[in-house]
């Protein structure tokens, strides 16, 4: 184990009463990487996210972040270390305005000395980044779905993360919204934040990710560049079934 390892997942498993949601998963993420995680429904993607962010405790295995064992730590401690997330089913503070939603994260970041400026100014900066600055004082419950997705990302960004985990940020968005959000995420990554993305919208995932891991039944069945993964027989079979594979490969 060296200090250079950014995120290291070793033999990670999570069983729910016999169901192996995540089964002995191993992978590394380098600093500055953009990793996509794909897989059919129920493959264990969100469970894997919950394990990395501390919302679930693993049945076995370990997680290291920057060489530090974080396996037993709580979600807020991981946020402090620099791991932030969004939720697949969005969880805005509904009765808060857009800026208040982001201020909450900024407040904590300020208490931890991660930001110097006033939390409101910082929250506004973040809202500009995700293109929500025009919605500052709207109640979160009145936002359309596409903007709630952006708000989730803003709230995660305001914790000043080094690693950002995005759980299906494109789900339910229109084609146009997908494109703008894709640009937002690209610029976040360009600013030096390592990103792990779970996505069903494969087109966006393929376009953004430098590397893709494919999960099926809790196991990694492929790990490589988007091109490599697309050609992988196991991956095609996981998505299309055996007959689909025969059809696809002629």
């Amino acid at each position: 184990m060296t200090e250079n390892d950014f995120l290291k997942v070793i033999d990670l498993s999570k069983h729910f009463k016999g169901l192996k949601a995540v089964d002995e998963v191993n992978f590394n993420v380098d600093e500055g990487e953009f990793l996509g995680i794909i897989g059919p429904n129920g493959a264990g993607k969100t469970t894997l996210f919950n394990l990395i962010t501390g919302f679930l405790k693993p049945t076995s295995g370990r997680i290291y972040f920057r060489g530090r064992d974080i396996t037993g730590t709580k979600p807020h401690e991981r946020v402090k270390l620099g791991i932030a997330r969004t939720f697949q089913v969005t969880k805005p503070f509904r009765k808060f305005t857009v800026v208040e939603n982001v201020i909450i994260s900024a407040l904590i970041a300020k208490k931890q000395g991660k930001i110097q400026e006033h939390e409101r100014d910082f929250a506004m900066e973040v809202l500009e980044k995700v293109d929500l600055a025009h919605r500052t004082d709207v109640l979160a419950e009145n936002l359309p779905h596409g903007e709630v997705k952006k708000l989730e990302i803003a709230r995660a960004l305001a914790t000043k993360p080094e690693l950002l985990l995005l759980d299906e940020p494109f789900s339910g968005l229109t084609g146009e919204e997908v494109e703008t959000l894709q640009d937002v995420i690209k610029s976040i990554h360009k600013n030096g934040i390592t990103v792990i993305l779970i996505e069903h919208v494969l087109k966006a995932c393929m376009a953004l990710s430098e590397r893709i891991i494919v999960l099926n039944y809790g196991k990694i069945i492929a790990d490589g560049t988007p091109q490599q993964v697309c050609m992988d027989r196991q991956v095609i079979e996981a998505y299309l079934g055996k007959r689909g594979l025969e059809f696809a490969t002629g």
Partner: protein, 323 residues
């Protein structure tokens, strides 16, 4: 610059209402000859603290507490018992009472940190029920049951001095709770109420803040209970009943949950109404409950939401002007 001016204006308005209330409250004993009215108002002051203390945990942090009387009642009993049986000076009894409420808030709060929704509600209810059973039967040798613990000393003698003491205590307590609720801490508590998982994802140590809310809630209810014990000079099972726990909820519901000031207003008005119509005998319970149903149906935000509605209309007018 303009921003600070505006907020200063709001502040002034808030304090104007408070000062007006303070002046009226201060001269009431001078204009009324009725000791009974003074007595009712003292009870109102005590229940204001009690309701506001419930609100910081349930209204702000979203942790449904169905047994709030346990903090009030335990503190009242500890004051009465230590003062009469152990002959502790009243000041020390009071400190012991509030401290016991603090300890109870830890005892209840720590296991409750892992619980959510109905599980939490049942647990708080059970704790208060245990306390009621202890006071009403199991530990009757200590609590005196219906007879109660009698002969508690008072800080000040007479209705009018107690009136002013309770008034000061109420204003201080509500002010402190309101300040906490309006601070960054209050915003964090509200975030936990809105969505606990999201709050964690923002980096909030939800366990710590929930416990903080439990402790604040317990301590201020304990203060109310301690004052009640020395003012009434007798503590009976009334202080740990289900009715008292329920009244924390009804006061807050009618005043406006999650605002501190709302539950305070609700407690003040309902205590006066309930006592003022005591000639209606049992019918007042019927009327009381009809009022509650009416509020749930027609004004779920409570009395305080009336003000917000007016403000919103005013804001809309200003907004239109700008356009």
């Amino acid at each position: 610059m303009e921003k600070t001016k505006v907020s200063a204006g709001i502040l002034e308005k808030k304090y104007a209402a408070l000062i007006a209330f303070g002046i009226i409250a201060a001269i009431i004993p001078l204009i009324t000859p009725s000791i009974y009215i003074i007595h009712v108002l003292i009870l109102a002051h005590i229940f204001v603290i009690y309701a506001a203390s419930w609100d910081i945990l349930t209204g702000y942090t979203g942790q449904l507490n169905l047994g709030h009387a346990m903090f009030f009642g335990l503190s009242a009993y500890v004051v009465a018992i230590t003062n009469t049986m152990l002959n502790l000076p009243l000041l020390f009894s009071t400190i012991a009472g509030v401290f016991s409420a603090f300890l109870l808030s830890l005892l209840v709060g720590v296991p409750c940190l892992r619980l959510r929704g109905p599980y939490l509600a049942i647990t708080t209810f059970s704790f208060s029920w245990i306390l009621f059973l202890l006071a009403s039967s199991a530990m009757i040798w200590l609590s005196g049951g219906e007879e109660g613990v009698r002969g508690v000393k008072t800080f000040v003698v007479g209705s009018v001095p107690n009136y002013y003491l309770s008034l000061v205590l109420m204003i201080l307590s509500v002010y402190l709770l309101y300040r906490i609720a309006s601070s960054e801490t209050g915003l964090i508590l509200k975030a936990i109420k809105e969505d606990e998982d999201a709050a964690m994802a923002c980096g909030i140590d939800t366990t710590r803040y929930k416990l903080l809310a439990f402790i604040l809630s317990g301590i201020f209810a304990g203060i109310a209970g301690a004052f009640y014990a020395q003012y009434m000079r007798i503590v009976t099972v009334d202080v740990v009943t289900l009715e008292l726990s329920a009244s924390a909820i009804t006061f807050s519901l009618i005043g406006g949950i999650g605002t501190i000031v709302g539950p305070a207003i609700g407690a003040y008005m309902l205590t006066i109404l309930f006592e003022g119509f005591s000639w209606l005998a049992d019918y007042r319970i019927l009327i009381y409950n009809l009022i509650i149903v009416a509020f749930v149906l027609f004004l779920p935000g409570g009395l305080i939401s009336l003000k917000e509605k007016v403000n919103k209309k005013r804001k809309m007018v200003i907004g239109n002007d700008r356009k």
